[in-house]
Symmetry: D2
């Protein structure tokens, strides 16, 4: 059964498997101190136009977020996040487990604003009782958000300015970075993101790799002992070259690399599905800007889709309509999309 329920239901782009095979007879130094990690870091350095950034390769997003926060925050400090942020809802309390509070802000379409950050930060940091309160020291954003929406360059600049003013680290969860950068609504480059954020990651698991995420940080304090934090959290992969090799395969060639082309293609497929839905009069739940399409689907459509596909039925909004997520990915092909469009049209 074809799965449109998420973007991590397939293995890897064939080029990744080929690279693994081509190098399988070689032997490498462990723990990320190998030539492939170096090459992949070089690829990233060129892409972000920042040769001094530190690059580390980790296995998954939850471990990445928790380690980044542990490296950024002192024990009494906290992080600001949208109420829909992954760290706020779907990481089983990983951030709190490292000892830190997540200050949750109401979000619109998965996004928070510079004004909200300012209000929250100033409330805590300028409070007479500040010694009785956690102190915000980081802002967590996701790009694209959990709802597939994008911060504009202007929005991100505004948030970054508030962060600077209140000495907050700006951290961006880029689990789906490829789909963000591949959107026609994206007015940011990775170089822009590097300039605005103190740390972020370029997602691999959902964007063509078998597994793996590339962490990038330009801030000396975060850079300093990051590998110790990784090891302490079981995130220093023994065969680190497996990660470097995958990211080199994806990112060699910069903005013309596999990473950019396959993920942009996935967004295009999402747009095709969206267009078909619009035509069929199905209501968008949130205006999609990347590879995730959220709709208010009538029961009939839900049932028709479920007959052929695995979809994410988030919950029934009322007796007749459900919130449904359809996800494309780098592995989605024309044929799959042609057929789902037919199903949509037939409802």
């Amino acid at each position: 059964m074809i799965k449109f329920d998420n973007d991590y239901n397939h293995g890897a782009h064939p080029a990744i498997l080929k690279a693994l095979e081509d190098t399988n007879d070689n032997c490498y130094t462990g723990y990320g101190l190998d030539e492939w990690c170096e090459k992949a870091a070089d690829d990233i350095h060129k892409l972000i136009k920042c040769p001094d950034a530190h690059v580390h390769f980790l296995v998954g997003g939850t471990q990445m977020n928790a380690i980044a926060m542990e490296a950024m925050l002192h024990a009494f400090q906290s992080v600001i996040s949208a109420d829909t942020g992954h760290i706020a809802v779907h990481e089983s309390g990983a951030i709190e487990n490292t000892g830190h509070k997540v200050h949750v802000m109401p979000s619109v379409d998965g996004k928070i604003t510079a004004e909200q950050v300012r209000e929250n930060a100033s409330y805590y940091i300028e409070n007479d009782l500040k010694e009785h309160m956690t102190q915000p020291r980081a802002v967590y954003l996701s790009y694209p958000t959990e709802f597939g929406t994008l911060y504009s360059k202007k929005e991100l600049e505004d948030i970054a300015a508030v962060c600077k003013e209140y000495k907050l680290f700006l951290y961006i969860d880029g689990a789906r970075m490829g789909y963000g950068l591949g959107s026609k609504d994206c007015d940011l480059t990775l170089a822009d993101i590097t300039e605005l954020a103190d740390a972020y990651y370029i997602g691999g698991t959902k964007c063509g790799a078998l597994f793996g995420e590339a962490f990038v940080t330009t801030h000396p304090m975060i850079q300093e002992n990051f590998r110790n934090y990784m090891k302490m959290n079981g995130a220093l992969l023994a065969k680190g070259w497996l990660l470097g090799l995958q990211f080199h395969t994806l990112l060699e060639g910069g903005e013309n690399s596999l990473y950019f082309t396959i993920n942009a293609a996935a967004v295009k497929q999402a747009e095709r599905i969206q267009a078909a839905l619009r035509e069929a009069g199905v209501e968008e739940y949130i205006k999609s800007q990347s590879n995730q399409v959220f709709i208010r689907a009538e029961r009939k459509l839900v049932e028709a889709l479920q007959k052929e596909y695995v979809i994410e039925l988030d919950h029934w909004l009322d007796d007749d309509y459900a919130l449904v997520r359809l996800c494309t990915s780098w592995s989605t092909d024309d044929k799959d999309v042609d057929r789902i469009i037919e199903v949509i049209k037939s409802c």
Copy 2:
């Protein structure tokens, strides 16, 4: 300058100091294994009609709350609290520092409802993604609340029933317990609270003692290693008898003891102030039920009060009105209240 800003600005009831003096030449076993702690535990056992409850004496409320949560919760578990709960706002992230998330609910007059607890608990505990989420395992209430209001017996029973249904520990922060029990609106006894809650504490610091809080728990799992949790958190006072002695002085005689009389008197004084305010047309911010009076005070009144008293000016609500808290305590006497009533009348 007389302080009406809080209820911990005075030393101790004279009987406490006398007891300290009377015993100062004796020597005692340390760490709470002394005769006074035993006597005080006996006093409490009688009062709550539950001889099997475990009683421990700690120094302060923040350490109490954090230790109780550490003893109740596994690493991935969390606690539900009102957004105004002390653990949610004024403990510098103590609960998160022990690794646990605080699920914050909107409150009305400092209180949350059984229905809110059910909604939150069921959302997390029955969720398909429950393995990706913290799991609520405790509910934190304060009695009286941070706004001086009281849960009725019925409200508490309803919450306790939901807790039983969802296997949540019910924990009550009784920093101001004496003022709650001393209110004319209180329809609960300590015995009732013991029956409904799995653990709670009887506040001393704010209710007549020099310092100290008495923790009570009837749940075997919380009882089991509580002294280890206390020691690990630096809360096993070397001279533990100082705490036992104070609580014995306060609680000997049960409901006729000092603890009940001095704190009920404080609530009476708050009622007198409240009556004067009402007469003077000053608007209550929240209807006080214990020793804290919250008002919408006009600038003129604020200034008049500030000339003679230290008051808690929470913040200016607008150009003309401020949210002001006036606190009485066991140390408040008639003369002080007579005079503040005059000031109020003169505005």
Copy 3:
């Protein structure tokens, strides 16, 4: 350059890569809830003759050890380990980071004895000041140890008996389990280990897999919420089937499976090297029982080896002799060993 310095310097057994390729076009449910994880768990259930054991697949050993300890231990509890145990030296304080003390015992050849465990446990658990002390609740062993040695069945039974007596969980780090089971000195089966230990893992990363470790536990308390602990620690791999698929490839067929044959072959290669060294008069530092050979190597030999191989030079014992580790692995072939034997002979 050929690497004899460790056993994680190669990719994966070709059968693993083939399996990844064969399934790359399929799509799967995430987070370990897929058919391959089920099949691999079945393989393990048969092998260990214990259908009720819970099986989980994780990415690496450090995360495995820390999560297991977090699931086993209450905040004030601790774990007993050899001073050479991986958790005691090479995990950047991962166990302490989860809040737990590691009680370190002096070891002989990487092993500790039942008597040592009894002494340590009884000292803490029966101490008058036990409430002032961490309380041991788990024993950490590695099989094989970090020095390639093996506990005999009798030794393990004795330790397990002490664990039962003092209510300690027995946990075995099996990062190199395949090389232990493949040793001619091994008098244990995985079924024996399952009976004796409360939890352990079957190492994949060092034993033929691309990456991954299989956790096995028979204890209800550890089983209960293990996936929450995994998620909270970023160890619930999104594409979990990648782990299940690898372990199914390795373990299908039980004791005749790939896992057993390729790792036993590696131990044979180590024996050949050992024999050559013995013949050449090189002193063993520790009598190897699996795939790691530790020698007191004269400078001349060190230099000869380093010319052709990457070896692990632990440190110089004196002016003339160094402690050197030579590791074989499932990827070591006859030719490599033939040649290193020649080098040894020539010194």
Copy 4:
């Protein structure tokens, strides 16, 4: 029964109780922001000749040590301690509970050497695998040690020099500081200690106060957010003035203050007991330098002492001899000592 088993079995010096009584009718600002804390900090500033040191008052030693370590150490960092150090044995894993490893060194008479610190620090900090290891960042000493012995100025200077070299914070647990400074073997002043250590505390609980310890730090990084760390750990006493008042009572007048006279007197009493023991041919277990006397006591002596006194019988060294601790304190008077000397002589 008179207690010679420890130095925290009595209330407070009468001057402390008097001060509490004299101020009991006043009201004060909470959380250490009061006039008495200011006065006491001034007393300390003069005494240590360092007006820029930050001074905070806490309730007990275990909370002090854990908070100091939490403020000094990043998550992956650790602290070096003697194996007999209080943090290593008697705090129920408080340091590990905040996430940090305690590197334990063998001690002689409760002391470790600069050379040991250098060896340990250099091993970890200069290790090729340092990213896989906790990194020492602090040294914990006690003055006097848990065995009543004293570091000489030279020994402390040597340790401080190694700390500087390896960027380790030097922290001194001064639970019994008064007895150290009151010893005839002491060649240090508090001003010296302030110069050599980055942080330390002046013990009150065991040295004349009812309860309380005074933390002193000269290091900007430790100073920065210390009150947040205190609050987060439940160590910001609501009625903070109770602590300031006690320390002002003890320390007003500097080296001629109560603190110095009453504690020096206690050491004199210990010397008298020691002399009597020596005369009676009883073997010292460790040569006492302050208020604790450790002896190898024959059964007959043990029994004679136990008939009239509570003593600390640590354990039986063999069939006939026990390790016994006799403690004097500020509350020990001539009469008690006269009588115990008689008992000793009579054996």
